[in-house]
């Protein structure tokens, strides 16, 4: 998207060549990671058997592992990473704040709260859980929009930081709510809820992969349309208005797309913390400028790597991917805070 948006005169500058290079490398890397996720583990799957299983041959033992366990997990990891990466980058670009990712401002916590409520009061699992998590994320975003006054006229000025800070407050409240709900559950259910809240790919199925894929097929084109407007929005609200852009409406539309992307993904995998937060800045460092396709790819790489690491690096214990991203994400977040001048006083 960003490559296409770049003016032709700049098309062959070193930076865009770097972006192109990185983008071409991303595809093979993702394929390789998927292959690793499918082949490596207990038991190892020999490559030739995996290929035969993929082509539809029924190999006792291996076919099930490849086709029903590991491949759907790898696909869900890929799609979840893409969705988180895109969602985070929209927030970060729109609010001009690298900290404005859905985890920090409480959107993913809203999904978690929705899911935990579903578990606490309706003993929900599967589909109900999915809808409650989705609704929780969307409701939180609606609340944030209303409270931070993003839609209203003249909201532009300090809206970026205000939105983030309101988000932090809402996140704190949701955290308290979740803690409370956890005390109302049986120990078993509380453990389940907590496990869900860490984020894991262990229960990935083809159904879930299909849900994510379907959502991405709809949302990515919408996002692609909106990204051009986002670039205009970045020129400043006054300029954007004089260019004929309905500024508040565009902003709300972007936030809704970004929230739907992350809330849907949280509903499927649980909140894999920091993926949405990390993808955008890493992509920017790699390409030398913000890039949505690259952020999506980086998100996918992070989730796949975290899942592979959690599966294989800790001996007998399988750690959920969310633990790995959480542990790695926090130091990176701190480092970002030190480095980022824009996180300071507003503009």
């Amino acid at each position: 998207m960003s490559a296409a948006a770049a003016p032709a005169s700049r098309a062959r500058t070193p930076r865009s060549r770097r972006a192109l290079l990185v983008a071409t490398a991303a595809g093979p890397l993702l394929l390789a990671l998927i292959a690793v996720r499918v082949l490596v583990g207990t038991p190892m799957v020999p490559l030739d058997l995996a290929v035969r299983a993929l082509s539809g041959e029924d190999i006792p033992g291996y076919s099930f592992i490849v086709m029903d366990l590991r491949l759907p997990t790898a696909v869900v990891a890929l799609l979840a990473g893409v969705a988180f990466g895109l969602s985070g980058t929209v927030f970060q670009t729109l609010l001009r704040n690298p900290l404005a990712s859905p985890d920090v401002i409480g959107v993913t916590l809203g999904s978690s709260a929705g899911a935990v409520i579903a578990m606490a009061f309706f003993q929900a699992d599967g589909r109900t859980l999915f809808w409650c998590a989705l609704l929780g994320g969307l409701a939180t975003a609606a609340l944030l929009l209303a409270v931070a006054g993003m839609g209203g006229p003249g909201s532009s000025g300090g809206a970026d930081n205000r939105f983030v800070l309101v988000g932090i407050g809402v996140a704190a409240a949701l955290g308290a709510l979740i803690s409370y709900l956890l005390t109302r559950l049986s120990l078993q259910s509380a453990g389940d809820a907590l496990h869900w809240m860490i984020g894991s790919l262990s229960s990935s199925t083809w159904d879930r992969a299909a849900v994510l894929a379907g959502a991405l097929v709809v949302l990515i084109p919408v996002l692609a349309l909106l990204v051009t407007r986002l670039r205009i929005l970045q020129l400043g609200d006054d300029t954007a208005t004089s260019l004929g852009l309905p500024v508040p409406r565009t902003r709300v539309a972007l936030i809704l797309v970004a929230v739907t992307l992350s809330a849907l993904t949280v509903a499927v995998t649980g909140p894999l913390s920091f993926v949405a937060f990390l993808a955008g800045p890493i992509a920017q460092r790699l390409a030398g400028r913000p890039s949505f396709p690259l952020a999506a790819a980086v998100g996918a790489v992070i989730v796949l790597l975290a899942d592979i690491a959690g599966q294989n690096l800790f001996g007998g214990t399988e750690l959920p991917a969310g633990v790995v991203t959480g542990a790695l994400g926090a130091p990176f977040l701190m480092w970002m805070l030190i480095r980022t001048p824009t996180s300071g006083s507003g503009r």
């Binding site: 920090v104 006054g149 932090i168 407050g169 409240a173 803690s179 120990l187 907590l194 926090a330």
Partner: protein
């Protein structure tokens, strides 16, 4: 909006008295005021009502200690960092303390209040230092927004560490999920008095240095001009804040937003002078905490909504109003 300070303080003391009475009376089993007085004057453990009052008395004492500590700590933090959003919950102090306690429970099976207190203090100190250090690095130093963001970042990061630990171990989970919501119940007098002694030290230090706090709130340059040794004053006040917050977390678990809300209310009533704000916080913090605790007992019977949840319920709207009224906050 400024009112006569002695009048406001006397009023606050009266309100605190009434709140204590309410806290002793109201709950799953409501007791009449005369029975409360009787139970306090001539305790008879064969009477159920007296036993109820007795257990609520411990709870009320814990509430007074924790509420006062958090509110005073919040006021001091807001003054010394010039950050209107300062609160132990927002700035990552609670997260640090929580993580330390979780680690202690998980690794060493800690359960006594003394152990928890040591851990909470250590964690609170580490959390504070980490947040302040990270926020001060980088170009503009520790701006209010950056402090709040760093606190949120630390809270999020430590949160996933805590979740991972707790997930591995069911018995830690069982203890922690009740500890994490913040509760005043189930404490012995010995626990409370031990913790309260620490809090008293912290509170006295802050009460004695309100003049310095006033100077710091004007900004470092002005403070230096007024003859304040800024670094030393920060270290002293910071230590007092950590004592107060760590002790409060050890006694009642992480309770957010109280340290944010009460100083702002005090400021609205008495203006910006910390010589007035801090004493009012000492009285107002317990009032708010006890009201929240009492309300939590009756809001969803037969279960109890823990006090930490109740303060978040009250605190978040205030937090949001503060952010929305940007000019007043001066972010």
């Amino acid at each position: 909006m400024r009112r006569s300070t002695p009048l406001v303080l006397t009023g606050a003391l009266l309100v605190l008295g009434l709140t204590c009475l309410l806290s002793l009376m109201v709950g799953a089993r409501t007791v009449s005021p005369s029975t409360v007085v009787e139970a306090l004057r001539a305790y008879d453990d064969s009477l159920t009502d007296h036993v109820v009052v007795h257990s609520r008395l411990l709870r009320t004492l814990a509430g007074i200690a924790v509420g006062g500590a958090l509110a005073v700590a919040g006021a001091a933090m807001q003054g010394m960092t010039r950050n209107p959003l300062a609160d132990p919950g927002i700035l990552g102090i609670n997260a640090g303390a929580t993580t330390a306690v979780v680690l202690g429970v998980y690794l060493a099976d800690a359960s006594r209040v003394v152990e928890l207190m040591g851990l909470a203090l250590l964690g609170a100190a580490l959390g504070t230092v980490a947040v302040y250090a990270v926020a001060s690095l980088g170009r503009e130093g520790a701006t209010p927004v950056k402090l709040a963001l760093t606190g949120a970042a630390l809270t999020a990061g430590l949160g996933s560490v805590v979740n991972a630990l707790v997930m591995i171990d069911d018995s830690s989970l069982d203890r922690l999920r009740f500890w994490q919501v913040g509760t005043l119940g189930a404490r012995s007098l010995a626990d409370i008095s031990g913790v309260a002694a620490l809090m008293a030290v912290g509170a006295v230090v802050i009460l004695l240095t309100t003049g310095v706090l006033n100077a710091l709130a004007l900004g470092d340059d002005a403070a230096v001009g007024l003859g304040v040794k800024v670094g030393r004053a920060r270290a002293l006040l910071g230590t007092a804040v950590i004592l107060l917050c760590g002790a409060a977390v050890a006694l009642a678990g992480p309770i957010g937003f109280l340290g944010l809300v009460v100083p702002h209310a005090a400021r609205l009533l008495l203006g910006g002078d910390y010589r007035r704000i801090v004493p009012l916080c000492l009285l107002g913090g317990p009032v708010l905490l006890l009201l929240a605790d009492t309300a939590g007992r009756v809001i969803a019977p037969p279960a109890e909504v823990q006090v930490g949840v109740m303060t978040a319920l009250v605190g978040v709207p205030v937090f949001i109003v503060l952010i929305r009224s940007r000019r007043q906050v001066g972010l």
